[in-house]
Structure formats: C-alpha cells, structure tokens
Symmetry: D2
Subunit: 427 residues, 4 copies
Amino acid sequence: MPASSDRPPSTATGQAPSNLDPGSRGRTGLWLVGARGAISTCVAYGIAGIRHDLIPSVGLPSAYPPLSGLDLVSLDDFVLGGHDVCTRDLSASAGELVAAGILPADLVSMVRDDAARFEAAIRPGILDVAETGFRDLDPRAAALGSLAPAEQSAAIEADLVAFREEHDLDRVVVVYLASTEAAVARQEAWNSGPEFEKAVAAGVPQPASLLYAYAAIRTGSPFVNFTPSIGANVPALMEMAATLGVPIAGNDGKTGETLVKTALAPMFRARALQVLAWQGYNMLGNRDGEVLRNPSHKAAKLESKDAALRSILGGATGATDGPHTQVSIDYVPSLGDWKTAWDFIHFEGFLGAKMSMQFTWSGCDSALAAPLVIDLARFADLAARSGESGALTHLGCYFKSPLQSREHDFHRQMEALYAYAQKHTAR
Amino acid sequence: MPASSDRPPSTATGQAPSNLDPGSRGRTGLWLVGARGAISTCVAYGIAGIRHDLIPSVGLPSAYPPLSGLDLVSLDDFVLGGHDVCTRDLSASAGELVAAGILPADLVSMVRDDAARFEAAIRPGILDVAETGFRDLDPRAAALGSLAPAEQSAAIEADLVAFREEHDLDRVVVVYLASTEAAVARQEAWNSGPEFEKAVAAGVPQPASLLYAYAAIRTGSPFVNFTPSIGANVPALMEMAATLGVPIAGNDGKTGETLVKTALAPMFRARALQVLAWQGYNMLGNRDGEVLRNPSHKAAKLESKDAALRSILGGATGATDGPHTQVSIDYVPSLGDWKTAWDFIHFEGFLGAKMSMQFTWSGCDSALAAPLVIDLARFADLAARSGESGALTHLGCYFKSPLQSREHDFHRQMEALYAYAQKHTAR
Amino acid sequence: MPASSDRPPSTATGQAPSNLDPGSRGRTGLWLVGARGAISTCVAYGIAGIRHDLIPSVGLPSAYPPLSGLDLVSLDDFVLGGHDVCTRDLSASAGELVAAGILPADLVSMVRDDAARFEAAIRPGILDVAETGFRDLDPRAAALGSLAPAEQSAAIEADLVAFREEHDLDRVVVVYLASTEAAVARQEAWNSGPEFEKAVAAGVPQPASLLYAYAAIRTGSPFVNFTPSIGANVPALMEMAATLGVPIAGNDGKTGETLVKTALAPMFRARALQVLAWQGYNMLGNRDGEVLRNPSHKAAKLESKDAALRSILGGATGATDGPHTQVSIDYVPSLGDWKTAWDFIHFEGFLGAKMSMQFTWSGCDSALAAPLVIDLARFADLAARSGESGALTHLGCYFKSPLQSREHDFHRQMEALYAYAQKHTAR
Amino acid sequence: MPASSDRPPSTATGQAPSNLDPGSRGRTGLWLVGARGAISTCVAYGIAGIRHDLIPSVGLPSAYPPLSGLDLVSLDDFVLGGHDVCTRDLSASAGELVAAGILPADLVSMVRDDAARFEAAIRPGILDVAETGFRDLDPRAAALGSLAPAEQSAAIEADLVAFREEHDLDRVVVVYLASTEAAVARQEAWNSGPEFEKAVAAGVPQPASLLYAYAAIRTGSPFVNFTPSIGANVPALMEMAATLGVPIAGNDGKTGETLVKTALAPMFRARALQVLAWQGYNMLGNRDGEVLRNPSHKAAKLESKDAALRSILGGATGATDGPHTQVSIDYVPSLGDWKTAWDFIHFEGFLGAKMSMQFTWSGCDSALAAPLVIDLARFADLAARSGESGALTHLGCYFKSPLQSREHDFHRQMEALYAYAQKHTAR
C-alpha cells in the first residue's frame, strides 16, 4: 500500500523559539495513560505501521494539506511510553483488535519490535477512586491506589521524568485515555492553584484524571485529555498551566456520533429549519461500554454528548427553548469496538411542514480515535515549541467539550484550525 | 403562533445606488415560471401567510440574523405573477397540497384574496420543445408552442413588461420553476451573444428555460433558475447579462439530499477519512418525479446531483481516483411531494478499518424549496439595486450547480454568503 | 373511495347456540374504557365512517377473507359507550387527531351525529390508584376515586347494566384502553376468586384495570384488555370468567414494533441464525408516552415488550443463553401519535460471520390499534354467542402478552386464528 | 467453540427404499458448478470445519430440530467435486474470503487437506454462451466453449460419472452456483423432452445452466439450481426428471433481502394494511455484482426478486392492482461480499393513515448461501433415497422462484418443510 501522507521534511529548523517559530524538532515522548487500552494499542501500531510504510495515513488529518504543511514532529521522532493498571500485555490487546477485524494481522507481526519497545516503557498507573472490580488488575497499581494523593502524583511525576531522561527526550506529551471515571462533585479547592495544592497535601482524595493532569503540568509536559473525565478542566490547573507555560487540550475526543451531529446541526441552523427533537441512541460493546453500565459514569458521558447540540441549535429560529434532545447509551457486548449509533431528527420547515432525518453511524471507535490522538500530540508538541500555554482553543474540532470554547460547529472549528495552520505556515 | 421573523423596517433609504448602497426599495415583481406548480403555490401562500402574521418565518433563512440585517425587499412589497402551461387554477394546486398535509387548510382559506390576485396575474407560458402528453394543457400555451423562438421570446418579454407597468413595479425578478426539461445537445451558437441572437432569429429551436432567461435578461429582469434545466448557463446569456447589467443566479435548488451530502462530505474530508462509495437512492412522487420517468430528463437531473460529491471528496486522501458514487431516482406515486432519500457511505479510516454511515431524509420538497425561492428573489432584487450583474456567486449555497463556482462545501458556501451580508450590512 | 370490505350479510341466523353455531346476532354494546382517548376516538369515527361508506375497511383484518367469512357482528349493530376520567369532549379528541393528520377532517364533520350519540353514552370512570396530576380531570371521576373498591366496582357494574338496558342490547363487550397503570406488587388474594372478593370487600385497594375486569365479568360482559395493565390476568378473575362463562382476552395490543419483531424473529430461528443482540429504541409523543415518563409505568410496559423475543429466539441455535435484548422508550412530544421505533439486530451466521439488520417503524399508533379493537370486540362477541369462556387463546396474534399462551410467533398465531375461523366457517 | 449441532447418528438404516423409508445412507458426492466461487468455497471450508469440530453449525438449519431429526446424509459422508471455468485455485478464493473477514484464517489453515482433496476433484466447466471477457479463464473451459451442445453435455456427464466411480459414491448431487447468465428468449423446443433432445443434437446453442441440468438428469443425479439462471425450469427437463426419477430443486437461493421481504410481507397482509409501495435498493460488490453490470444479466435477476412480493400482497385489501414495487441493484466494489440492501415500505392503514417502515440488511452473501446449499444437497439426497422425483416443492423456503409453486410466504414455506419433516420422521 503506498503511503499517501505528506510528511514534513525531517530536517530541524534550529531557530530560536518564538510564537510563530517553533524551536528545533527533536525527539518527543508520547505518554499514553491507559497504555494497553484499544486506542493506545491502535496509536502504537499505527505509528509503527506508517513509519515502516506498511499502511497509508488515511484517517490522520495532520498528514494531509493544509495541516501537513506545518512543522509538526515527525512520526519517526515519537518515543512511546505510558501508564496502565492492568497486567495483560500489549500483544493481548493487539490480538483482541485483530480478532475484531480492526488491526491487520500482518501489521501486528511486522512491527513486533516497535511494540516490544513500547511495552517495555509501560509503568503501573493509579486507579480512579471509584474504580472497582477491575479484571487483571496490576497489583502494583492496586498498591499505588492506597497511597495519599500527593504520593500518587509524585509517583506519576517520577515516571514522566525518568522516561524523559532515559530516552533523552526534548519533551513528553501526556495523553489521557483511561476509561471514563465516575462523576464527582466539584471541590471548592479546585478553584485556585494554591487551594488545590493544599487539598492534595492534606490528603483529600482526587479523581485520577486530575492527578495525572497535575503531574503532567508540574513536569512541564503538555497534557491532552481525550476522555470525558475532568482532567485539567478546573480553574486551579488552568491557572498552573498558564503560569508554568504548559499547553493543555481537552476534553473528550469527538470521534463518532457527536462528530456527525456537530457537522450536521449547522445545516439546520443555516436553513432556518426548526429542530423539534434530536434523539440519539448509542450502542457500544467495548470496555468503555462496560464501564458505562455504572450509572454515575454514564451521567458524565451523556452530559458531554448533549451540550454541543444545544449550543449550535439553541434559539436558532426564535423558539424560546431549544430542541428536545436526549442521548441514550446501551452496552451491547457483541458489538465490541464497533460502535453503532442511531440518531433521529424531527424538524419543522416552512408552512409548518414536519419532516425528519435519521442516520446510523457504524464506526470503529479505536480506529477513529487513534489518529486524533496522534494529531493532538503533534499539535501539543508544536504549541510547546512555539511557547503557547494554557488551553489550546484552536484544537476545538477534536473535542466534544473543548476547553474554554463555546464553539461546537465542526466546520467553524475546522476553519479556526486552518487559520492557525495558515498563520504558522506563513512564517 | 408568534412570528419569529426579524424583518427589516419598511422605510426605504432613498440614497443613490452604489455597490454597497442599494437604491430605494420599492415594489418588486416576483414572476414565477411554473406558477401553478407545488413550489410556486407554497411561495404564494407562504408570503401571504407571513404578511398576515398567520405563520412564522421558520425555514426562511433571510428572516433570521445575520441575513435579516440586510436591506432586503420586504415580503409586503412583493407583487406576484407568472407563467404556466396548465389550465387548472391555483386553488386546485392548493387543495392538493392541503390533502398532502403540506399547506394548512385554514391558511388557504384565510388568504384567499392574496391567492386570487396572484391567479389573475398568471399568463400562458411556452412549452419546452420536448414536452409531450401534458395533462390539462392550456390551449394558449399549446398555440405559443407552435411559434418560432423569436416570437416565443417576444411574447414572454411582453408579459414581463406589461406586468411591470400594470403594477407600477421598480423591477421584476424572474424565477424559473418549471419541470426539468429534456437533456439537449449544446449548440455552437450558445457560445456568443450575437451568434445566439442570430440562431433565435433564424428559428433554431431552443429549450424553454433558455428562452425565458433570454427574455428576462432583455427586459433587465434578474433571472433565477431553480431547476436543473439549462436556463442562463450558456456563455451567450452570461455575456448579455453582464453587458446589460442583469444579475443571474442558478442552477437547481439545493433543498434535500444534496444539501445533506454537501453538509456531511466536508466532515469526511476534514478527518482524512477515505470515502470508498457514496450511494444515493431517491424516491419522489410528485410531477417532478413523473417527468423524471422520461430517461432523458432523468439524465439531466442525475448529473447535477452527482458532481458536488466528487468536487468535495475528489482525491482528498491522496487516492488517485475519487469515491465510487451513484445516484438513483425512482418514481413512487404514493409519496407525493414527500421525497425520501437513502444514502449509504462506505469509508475507510486509520489502519484500514472499513466503516459506514447511512441516512434517510424524509422531506417535503415544496416546503423546503419555497422559502429558498423567496430568499433568492430578495437577494436578486438587492443585487439589482446594488448594481451587481452577471452570476451572483455569493448565492452558491442555494444551488446544486452554482453558476461560475466550483465550491460545493455547504459550510464554505454559507461563509461566503455571510461575508457578503457583512459587507452589505457594515455600510 | 370504494369500500373494499367483505362484510357478512346482516340477516341473523336465528339458530340455537352451540359451540360452532353462534346464537342470533343482535345488537352488541361496545364499551370503551378510556372513551375519549385517541384509540377510542379512532374506533368511534372508524366504525361510523365504514357504516356510512365514507372510508374503506383497510387495516381491519376481520373485513377480509378468511375472517370475513365468519358470522361476526356487523359494524351496523354496534352501540358505543364508555368510561373516561376527563371532562374534555370527544370532538376535542377528534380535533387533535385531525390536526395530527390521523382523522380526515371531512369524515369528522360527516359523522357528527354518530359521535354525539357515543358522547352521550360516556360516563365518569375510576382513576387508577397511582394516577396523579391528570389534566382536565372529571370531578365525578375524582369523587369515585375516593370510594372503597367494592363501591367502585359496583358503580362500574351499574353503568354497564344501565347501558345494556337502555339500548336493549344482547350483550356488552368491554374493551380496556386506559393509559398504562403503575406496576404493582401481586397480591396473595389474586390467586383465588373467593380470596379476591374478600379483599375487595375488606377495602384493599386494587388497580383500576382489575376492578374493571371484575365488574365486566360479574355482569357477564366479555372483557378485552388492550393495555399492559393487569386487567383480568390473575387466577382469581380467570377462575370467575370460566365459572360465569365469560370470554376474556388480552393483554397489550400488538400494534407496532412488537408486531414487526414477532413477524421477523421466526425468520432468524428458521434459518438457524444466532441473534446476538436485539436492541429496540422507541419514541412516542402521545399521552401514553407522557404517562411512561413515570418510571414505574415504564417498567410495566418494557417487560411486556421484551418477553416475546426471548420466547421466540431463546436457545434456538443451542446457545445456552438467549440473545442480549433491551428495549428503551423515550418521550418525544413533537411526534404526537406517530410512534417511531428503531431496532438493531446483530446476528451470527455460518462460519462465524457477524451480520446486522436494522429497521425503522413509523406508525400511527391509534390508527393501528383502533381496527384491532374492533376485531377483538367482534371476536369476543362471537365467542360469547358460541358459548366459549375464559381466555380466548385463538386471539394471541392481537396481543404482546397473550393470556394463557406462550406462542409469540406472529405467523403461528395467525395460523391458529385461521384454524379457528375455518372451524367456525365450516359449519 | 463447542459444536451446537444435533447431527443424526451415523448408523445407516439399511432398509429397502420406500417413500417414507430412505435407503441406506452411504457416501454422497456433492458436485458444485462454480466450484471456486465464494459460495462453493464457503461450502467446502464449512463442511470441513464442522467435520473437525472447529466451528458450530450456526446458520445450517438442517443441524437443528426439527430438521435434525431426519435421516439426512452426514456431513462426514459428503465427497466434494465440481466444475469451474477459472484457473485460480481454491486457496486464492479462500484468501480473498479471509481478507474480507468471512472465512476465519485459522480454519483455512487447519483444514488444508480437505481443501486439497476438493481442489483435486475440480474439472474445467463450460462457459455460458453470453459470457465474455472473463478474467483468468481456464483454456480448457474455453476449448469446451467451442464445442457443440451435445458434446458439451457429454463432457459434463463424463465428469459426473467418473467422479461417482472414482470415489465409489452412491449418488452425486449437482448444485449449480455459477454466475447469473444472460436472459435468453425461451425456445419452442424447451417444451418437450424429445424436441429438446433434437435441438441439442442439431447444435442449437443452449444456456450453460440448462446443459448442466440436462447432464445431471441424464446421469440420474439430483439437480439443485441455486441461481436465477434457467437450469431445469423448462417443461422438457421437468418431464425427463419425472421420467428418469430424478429430484430437482430451484431456482435462485433466498438468502437476504428477499428472505426478509417474504418474512415481513405476510404481516402486512395479515393486518389488512395496504402496501402502497415497496422499493428495494441493493448494493453488492462481489463477482455476482460485476456480472450484473451487464444489463441483460440484471434483468434476469430483478424479475426473480420482484415476483414474490406481488404474489404475497397482490389484491390483499381489495385494491384492484397490487402495490408499486421496484428493485434496483448497483455494483459497489468496496462492499465485496457484504451485500447491503435498503427497503422502504409505504403503507396505508385504518382511516387512511399513511405510514412507513424501512430496513437495512447487511449480510454476508456467501455465509448466508453456503449452509443453504448444504441443506439442499442433504434434502435432495434424502429425496433420491426416498424415491421422490421431479420438483421438490417442500423446499420452496430456500428459493426466490420455487419450482412449481406459487407460495412465497416464508412462514408457510417453512410450515410445508416442517410437515414434510414430520412425515419423514414419524416413520
């Protein structure tokens, strides 16, 4: 298969850093939290496959114009590592994905060495406070789980620093990919950096995603949260990221049904069609789906999925209230990683005519998510080299709940990214 | 139902015309070719309903921000007239639309006077050369059909001038809404204005839509072609429109399945997903569908529907050839005006994963088309007042085959319209 | 519109009753509980429309061969009455159904007299114990609600007897059509007739549907429960019905999604295809949907919808457990009476190939239910004339939870009904 | 994977043949015409997989009650052979099916020996007269193509006899699985056996499927036509089959969309719902689809798909004409063997309410067809042992155009098969 990518040349520029002049591209660590999950596995095998010219870059937006014109880190220069709480090794995950028809069997056998190097760099992670009954739990992760938050954070930081030093990396980008954590009440201490640090020191339990974000920021590592978990989305961490000059991005990768929703809804608004109801019914059968059987995890996920639509359509045609929207999720084990969603849109047009549209999306979640993770890591790296810090609002197109942005219209989000790319390419 | 429109104030500005300063808004004639068809009927009852505050402006984009901020002609200032080749009167068309659940019965009875005024201004039109076996054909239209092209064109011009004078109108906008005409071979004479005029004078038969465009342009009337028929889309007429300062717009209103396609396809391109196949299957049961049973009419329609997709997706991910696309149309009488389309999109993502999306669109064609016709008439009127002439490329979002434009991405088309609106509002 | 029915001749046979020789067909009362609801309104206008030859019998199975060959009561010989707890009159219900595009406006105006006669025979009913916050509640119904169960039952009986006597009816068939009542714990006393009568006498509160069934049986009136509420489905009432020679039928009309499920599932079984998952997502916007927002009502409904599938597919291909099935229902007000359901079927075939089927059902619930109510009343009347009593198992095809039957395969249910018809026709 | 089949015991009965007493089950040849096509490949690997207990019998109806109670030939006793016109070997076909996710890779490697034995028994076949431009054509098949019909038939017969003798088989069942041949005009000579034999002797060209049927019948081999090609469906061959005591079955396997149609349509009839339109849109990407690009082949296929619906629904509710039905087929290469069909059903119910149902069927054609081929071979063998001859009408459930039967209702067809099974089991 001929690689259709349009990768930037690998000669580094060597110029002094400035806003539009990213510093020298060296080797960048890509640290995946949830390193043996389906998405991380696809990231690892995908990067290896492209490196060895075994697969094309289809599905990877940063490999095509206009984004490929940017001075992004080459896939050749990524070094992978990560945290996980399970003991099964990467090849077990890969085997599952081969059986599910997602990873090609020959790819897995041809990049065995790359996978082994990644596997060697996976360290035991910390469990989310609410996580229970996990299969094949790593006893070292369980041990970390009983430590105080400050000790947990310190352990993560130590792993990140050790990884950077061992591989002589210019920087490490942390991407959070662990399963959705339980919805938690906001803590007062999350509103300011010093208060938060006090709470951590005092042993107040914190969600795992928040501790990961904290550790990443403290070590100067750009942090990307691809899940609906809270991550860096609290004022305390936003503040620290700005102060320490660390770029952050999130939350919740926009991979499937929500992507389609935010690409379609603007059409109804543009045509002044009044959406009466937009109902979404999702089925998924992977670990993510299993975790969502827990109602408190489900609540976090659904909130994230529903907001975008209200934001795009709310009051579009003068109706005082927005459309009736509901999102349901059911766990259907036989589907595995092949998520299937059905959406029904009931709308009114001219003369009161009531019409409808319905769509079924059958997508492979991991294959959709993995290239976005790679893109985000490349963009976070570019931002760090360019001296950007805090929430990277030009990356809104990648997320269901973009940090510090109310724009959910996918096309406007893409225009914003293209405008950013043009500014950075025009130098 | 409260009218949710945001209509511009009806005080005219009275300033001298300039590019960004449209002249005084007076009374504008809206001349509908195919005046008793379903779309025209919805246009007439819709305008009357909004005027009398009986229906909201839902579905009419020009009634909402940002377009409502423009100095568009008020719906109160439209005077309706048109051509048709049938004898049945407007109330028969309205009755059919009530039975089909499209026009509300009470609206029809409450605006009877407005409908009667429109009916009084409908004149016999000319038949397309290929048209045969039409039911309830107006014998006067049949008589016109036997005249030479120059006489036909002169008859149309006379009707347009008489309408303008009788109602003391500032200008007449002609919107072509007749059934799709048969595909015809391009004539050499269409390439230049003088050659075309010679051919008409010499009696070379011309498609009806072309004669209508010719007559409109000669009388200085903006011409909008909402059908896939050829209309003004030949160099000869483009040239005349530019020379005589007449704005033109077309072809083929983007109301349903193609609208969705061009709103969705950019999402696949933006995510670097490779569309392998995009198949569309359309069912329609109205007169348009009946005409499409004639294979030569169908060919014209399908060509128009298929091009947009190739333009948006062609070569997006480096594939040498674009996606496999096909559009089928079947006539299903029981559906009447409720067009139903099913689209299937087969696509490849990262790691070669093959995924699919499918959607069903159930829309009422006339209720979708009518407000776009009103918008187009308002924009064509604004363009004429602003001294614009030739193809109005900022109106691409309204058409399947926008004149002199290769942009089919619906969102980019909307951005172009909004940019135009901003320029005109900012004065 | 030509009536396409095949109605039995109206000459009564006058022979002595025997199992296969129903007694003289006289006038039969059709007593609708929930008399002003959407289904009852469609029953009333539908019967009137067919009587006056204004509509065809489409949708009414008993009007076509082979069922039309039976000696069923003529629609001309039905006299309508019923109970309701609301004050709004029938014409208000009819108006809503006209607005929703279900009842034709001209039909409503042409059978005004028939509707008025039905309206005059509607009496205040009793509320279900759990019913609260009902709009336009009839104060007389509210007063009945505060009485002891024995008094409530006596009031219903008095209404039934008065109706029979006033109109000189041979018998009254009671059809229960009230909104789904809350799920209730089974009472020990429901297991035997005498115990149940003791409980009623002692003032133990009973679900409304059960009291209606009790009153019907005590007055010798055949009882049909078209809802998922409990009705006569307790041993105590089954026993009384057998003892008193009263035919009963139920529960829960099989009108839409479940009908399709039970018609399709046998195909998978016949082909030895292993259904892995069958997920159903339902949207409805009528009063029924509103009531279902109450979780305890929803539970009763879902249980009824899910059992059929397990019964048909359970263990079909040797799998130890049946397929993964789930049914979800959401309330979508804009849909009104137009119920829309999406079902997804994931199945495995030969060589382990995983395939899928999905369907969308868009049906008008009342228009689907009303003719089945008429059929059931005709069959219950025939059974009474034929001396049949207890659960009418040949009517299983009409119900989601057929009384005393485990057969859910729609085609086998139809074969059973046709066999019954053949036996009764062959005389 | 545990085999869930319920295979009959392998002890032969050894009794004298009689109608309900099939003769001794010995070894049966299964001769597949189109031996290297996708269906044959699935048949071969499927039989081998079940023999070696590597796959369950899911999808194979004859492996489950009540059919498993019959004295059918054991899969262990089948010996495979066949004809093909291509040179590529079976493992190439198997490789394609593995890549398409249909055949499990490990199954293919584990039954390599069985596949090699089958491969060794494949002989060059004859081309259909209209076949042109075939890839990887076997030169021996091309040579056979230039012979006279009588010589072609003799060559086939010789292959069948040699296969039977070489493997010491009790009988050979021929299953015709070659690609759909071009529609041809009926020949007068097809109406009688002697006339047909004269025409063959005189060198009148004949469709390949007809010559295969002729050869099979002449050698006393039961003949099953799983394709829409003509096969034995002419009076001349019917007559010979009856005279020579040869069972025949066909035409056109009912595997996917038509299966669903004939399972669903009876539901509409049973509920007296008037189907206004039933539109089917099919996409397929395998060799079958490629052949269908040829319009004359497509015509044969579509006729076969459309008749069933008319037969089940025609005049059901007194409408003088049946529903409006259309079937479209498009070739979509990216889908490969995964056929996807969308059906739209527009129907009218009580009170004139217009409703709709739509379904999407995504099935793997070969995996659906292969087990039916095995079933048919077992039933044809049982029929031969039981002394049955001519069209086996109890096998109608397997075909789109069952020979000598007008019953298309899938459920009634199943009842007929179950009745046959009961009669044969009851001995």
